[in-house]
Symmetry: C2
Subunit: 255 residues, 2 copies
């Protein structure tokens, strides 16, 4: 049985301030928690699991000496942020991620300019993982990486993709980046132009790329639209998927 | 001032059963409501608008003889499904959409096989609009098109894209469709293979394409992944964006 205090303590981790204080974040659901267990079990500080989860993973929890409590579905509902909680919630330790060495002449990656929706942020990290992008950069005002909804949306990719917060100007000062791409109106259409390695800036959901960062783009690009009026836009994560896919196609598959 | 009954009545439209009873659905936010006003004002049955919205659109509301009430931000918060309601909520009449004639030999389109997340469903409709796809098909168990979160996620595209509910088998019986594509493991990689016009099946978020529909695919395709273990997947809407973009590139741009 969870005490009221325990419930409060877990729920408090839905807030960034409390996460930062305790250096703990929440991972939920069978798929994500089992991946942490099998890939980086030392991250797990404590697991709250239903009988169903324990049926399948008790051995791993014991093997990796993880502190766990059996809880009811009702208790899980109370501590979860999900509409349909899925068997388990784990408290995990913040981990220090040393950016892997990244050569912008040999690879391409993303810079998220104030992506604020946790679903978009997490799903972009998942996309990066799919296409083998090891480091993703983002502005300090972007979503918190440890936000439970971000972690959830990455579907385990948070374990593999390194997220680095930095102002774009700072990043460009310290890295040797020839090509700074950004999706704008009237850029070069991505399909008909040769794309190269470098950094691709993804704009905020409502406001696009900030004025300060727009000035730093030297390769403006555009996803062509079939619309005649040109007033429409794509969801930020969808646009990112299309752009990354096209970079991948041109640079990694030779197609 | 909204009465308790009025608030209840509007909130009841968050449920499909009530929407179907009253043949009314909810459109929210400045962008979407203003688009309805300017493109299909006869859809609007009633508008609830804050002072801020009226400052900019009172003229249009009067010009199109639309019944509207001024409400406070607090009242808008009560009737809205959004975390951050945006100036206006309109009740709109169901509209009958006659599927435009669709020639599967000259065009490609999507079949959503039980897409259940309203955000995914709506954002796929928005994607279709971007790439000029006029009809989108989906299984009867997919999201309700008039779900307020679907409408919201389409960002106005619900006005332009025709959504047709049909079992896949029925659709294939009545239409002349040579190519039935579906994203599966070990299909032809989309970048290196010539894609043609036809129908592209998009699978459910958790379970992929149903067994019954898998059998109807004659052109299995795959988005190549950089992963070695191959256990990962992409979000359904993101995968759709990548696939549609590649069809568009090959078939419409000549690139």
């Amino acid at each position: 049985m969870l005490s009221k205090n325990q419930i409060k303590e877990i729920q408090s981790l839905h807030l960034k301030k409390q996460r930062d204080n305790q250096k703990l974040f929440i991972v939920e659901g069978v798929k994500s928690v089992s991946e942490v267990l099998l890939q980086k079990s030392d991250l797990v500080s404590k697991a709250y699991a239903t009988k169903e989860f324990l049926l399948n993973y008790k051995k791993e929890l014991q093997q990796f000496k993880i502190d766990y409590s059996e809880i009811s579905e009702e208790e899980l509902q109370k501590i979860s942020l999900q509409n349909n909680p899925n068997q388990v919630l784990a408290l995990c330790n913040y981990f220090s991620s040393t950016p892997k060495v990244f050569d912008f002449k040999k690879d391409f990656t993303l810079y998220m300019d104030d992506i604020r929706d946790p679903g978009n942020f997490g799903t972009i990290v998942r996309l990066a993982d799919w296409f083998g992008i090891k480091n993703v950069f983002c502005s300090p005002a972007s979503c918190d990486f440890y936000n439970p909804k971000v972690i959830q949306a990455t579907m385990g990719a948070f374990l593999r993709v390194n997220v680095v917060y930095s102002e774009l100007e700072e990043l460009l000062k310290h890295q040797n980046i020839d090509n700074v791409y950004g999706a704008v109106l009237n850029g070069a259409t991505i399909y008909n132009n040769k794309l190269s390695n470098g950094l691709i800036i993804i704009g905020n959901e409502a406001n696009g790329i900030s004025d300060a960062n727009l000035k730093l783009i030297n390769k403006p690009i555009t996803i062509p639209s079939h619309q005649s009026n040109g007033t429409e836009s794509l969801n930020a994560a969808m646009a990112t998927a299309i752009i990354v896919s096209e970079f991948y196609r041109q640079l990694k598959t030779g197609a």
